[in-house]
Symmetry: C2
Amino acid sequence: MIRHTVAFTLRHEPGSAEESSFLEAAHGLAAIPGVQRFERLRQVSSKSHFQFSFSMEFADAAAYESYNEHPFHQQFVTERWAVEVADFQELDFVPLDTSVG
Amino acid sequence: MIRHTVAFTLRHEPGSAEESSFLEAAHGLAAIPGVQRFERLRQVSSKSHFQFSFSMEFADAAAYESYNEHPFHQQFVTERWAVEVADFQELDFVPLDTSVG
């Protein structure tokens, strides 16, 4: 299992229609083959400035790579992410003592 | 649900006995009342320098606060975390459209 996460802030006003539109559009990522346990999360620690996070899991590195190359993902990155995200940090995880498959 | 996560790097050499000792000691955090889905993870994205992460879930803010105040947690922070961790970042999450209970 590989868990892919990305914490981010948006250029939009909190609570705005533009913010909602972005978060709604991300639902489409959950439908890409191989994506498991897709979550849209609000970041609530005062120790970080990030506002949101997406989290998803893949069975192995091949499924993760297939997601990265999927046309919907690439379109989302180009048309929404690159335009609307102000700052982000990716963190990917595997259970301890497990190698990436 | 509140998911508490902390990504971190250790002062120890990768693969060292000291590294293993720290990660083993963290198992004790999972036994603190209110801690659910405790995970020890390896951070594998080349886009971040963090080596590891702990992730756990709490039913509500009261359970999270009780964890923070628990003697084992406070001892772990003082005796191990403050001494052995070189750098860390906390991120806490709630499902989108959910307020912190």
